[in-house]
Amino acid sequence: MRAAGEEVLDELSATAAARPAGEDDHVDGVPARVVAEPSTTDEAAAVLRIAAARGLAVVPRGTGTKLSWGHPPERVDIVLDTGRMNRVIEHRAGDLVVHVQAGVRLDALQEHLAAARQRLAISPVRPPGAGPGTVGGVVATGATGPLRLSHGAVRDLLIGVTMVRADGTVAKAGGKVVKNVAGYDLGKVLTGAWGTLGLVTEAVFRLHPLPPAARWVTVPVTSADDAHDKVQRVVHSSVMANALELDRAGDGSAALAVLVEGIPQGVDDRVRTLLGLLGDAGDTGEVGDAEVTDVPPGWWGHAPWERGGVALRLTHEIARLPRLLDAVDDAGPRCGLTAAVRGSPGVGVLHAGLPADPGAVSAFVTLLREASPAWGGDIVVLDAPPAVKAGLDVWGPVRGLSLMRRVKDQFDPDHRMAPGRFAGGI
């Protein structure tokens, strides 16, 4: 076994940087044998060809901030680390397009783009204590943050992708233009696929201009119905909020914050409209219960769970927000836990944080799944300590699963790419 490991290492080292795996390279508790660190798509392809020839399981890794999300892999032979694939290949500012390697860190990219007064409109919501992650990780997890309300999700901003298939074949889809319907949109299928269909090595994104002005209007919220009422008032108005975030602490205190971005005159005007809509009249500053600020509230963009806690994603139909919040309020006490909820009710994606109590979490998720037809969404346990995951179906029921299995079988017939991490055991 050990000798075989050395042999793999030798072979890998001939094509890309590689080293024996250490304890830090475990993936959600599953030990790895080697870490390969290719610096180009071709090197990554060479690594995957070796893995294919030897039947080795490969788990891609960006900065590792979300390697404990989903199921732990069934096995890990090679951790394919994208850390050296960190080049901005081309930034065409005039076309509002950027082409990057998958290992580029999101913070570095935003800094680069800001110099041209542009941004990738993916908001930096982060797990507690985690760094900003890589572009590849953002694509692979398809995670969303506040700006999705106005700019869409990662899938909507990704216009081209280069991938390496499990067998080492390099393929691309999409391109460098925003409008393009030639061929299947593989970028969407790879977004949120958690590395189970192949390795994303390069991505092309559409960009947006950095808005010259931004203002947050924050108001307290007294109940689920009040939250719903305020959300509805904002989304059905013509104020065009750029983001709308709800924050409900475990103790029930809650706030709604609305972001408007744009040119200064427009922003002032929209803030006034918002204050009227949300029950306050006046211009700026603190008016009644509403607060107008030019920095986000402290909780904005942060995940609502504690380190080592349990992270849920709850999706819902926009108008059925109160059903979801009521279900959370009902299930919590019955399971002996309190849930902190935060997220984007104007989009229909919330996140919740729970304490890491296996029995209580399992009961809570079961209750919520039973009630979910009332709000029409899914409940996914994104992250949890192993003891909690063990008693849970973290992904829950999946529509179209047989088709998804067939897709996996086509892309990765030997099930070597991040095996077992995804929904339905994929």
């Binding site: 869409g152 409008k179 593989l186 529509r399 017939p413």
Partner: protein
Amino acid sequence: MTIDEAPALTGLAERLRAALGPDAVIDDHQRLRTYECDGLAQYRVTPALVVLPADVTGVVAAVRACAEAGVPFVARGSGTGLSGGALPRADGVLIVTSRLRRIIEIDAASQRAVVEPGVINLDITKAAGADGYYYAPDPSSQLICSIGGNVAENSGGAHCLKYGFTTNHVTGVQFVAPDGEVVRLGGKAPDATGYDLLGAIVGSEGTLGVVTEVTVRLVREPEAVRTLLAGFAGVDDAGAATSAIIGDGVVPAAMEMMDALAIEAAEAAVRCGYPDGAGAVLIVELDGPAAEVEAQFAEVERHCRAHGAFEIRIAADDAERASFWRGRKSAFAAVGRISPDYIVQDGVIPRTVLAEVLHRIAELSRETGIRVANVFHAGDGNLHPLVLFDDAVPGEAERAEEVSGAILDLCIQHGGSITGEHGVGSDKAKYMPRMFSDADLDTMQLLRCAFDPGGLANPGKVFPTPRLCGEVPGRHKGAHPLQDAGIAEVF
């Protein structure tokens, strides 16, 4: 092949009549000919059989019958496609969605509409208007094209610059997979668990199954809309103004350009009264909160003047706004007034090379004597060169075809695409290898094999050479087995 020569199809017709009722099945040759082409009339094939199901059960019956008989099927909405995507198969069944026209639900509170695939695009907007909402993607054919066809083609429109394409507005579908299984993906809530196969279905041109229900996002009507029409000496100036506006951080709702020949055609057809002597016209529309629109509108005007606009008109009311758009929206049909025949091309380039590519197109035109009128979504870099010719002049059709292909090559050379909204269909399958490598195409077809291992859903469209679904990936070298067998060719 006619139905009499194919016993499998005769049996199918009987079976489907029994299941769907006699008037839902057409096998009379004369009536079948109504369906022999879509909006791209140069390709014509009479289908062996047409079925008009009235609900999903009917679609399942049709697809299942085809699967069992090994007969190919093609879905068809309104037949306005411009790439021959709904071109029938002589040995196959055409499944037409025109009876699937129910608007199932307008849920303004959740900003969604649920509709059957045969619903006409504009009818969604009409239904949602009472609540102050509309359906954003607006192909010029929105009066007649179906939402199912829009999903299949990932259609765009003038307002997609700001609001995105069909794929950004569809949150759920129900479809019948090629084996007859009914699958639901997504719904009114976003991010259904699992792979984003919804993203694959949109734009798949009917090759992954028949869509039977669509859930779309509804967009709030904007507080203000302002539209400006600017006349320029030529496309260079208008192109520079386009770049300057976008470079300034303004994202207009629409930004459309026409060149001199396209203006001439539009004037001939609808007398739109565009500025006299304009070598290019730019229409810019802004929408959103009133104060924002006002301030940005002034910027747009400034950029147009700075880049040589000699006349700027600002629509005072809806009627005037409609008159600005009338010329643009009628442009495709209008070229029929100045040329007996024409090809509507659809290619995309990065916005920044607009001037360069338009020059090259003009050169091509001079070199070949083939006139090219340009009407396009300038903000997206989505060109629609109209290549004019006279079929009665020997050799002209071929030269037009060459110019048309050369324009696509230009798009590819500049990092663009061979289609921005009309799709690949039968028309452009042969160009796919110019844009994508064998490995790229092969990888796309992995998806096809997962959905449709038998290759019965709209075969022959999109891909020049279908993949054999049973083969082990990555193990074939050299010519594709289908090529070796003389069944298919790579162009």
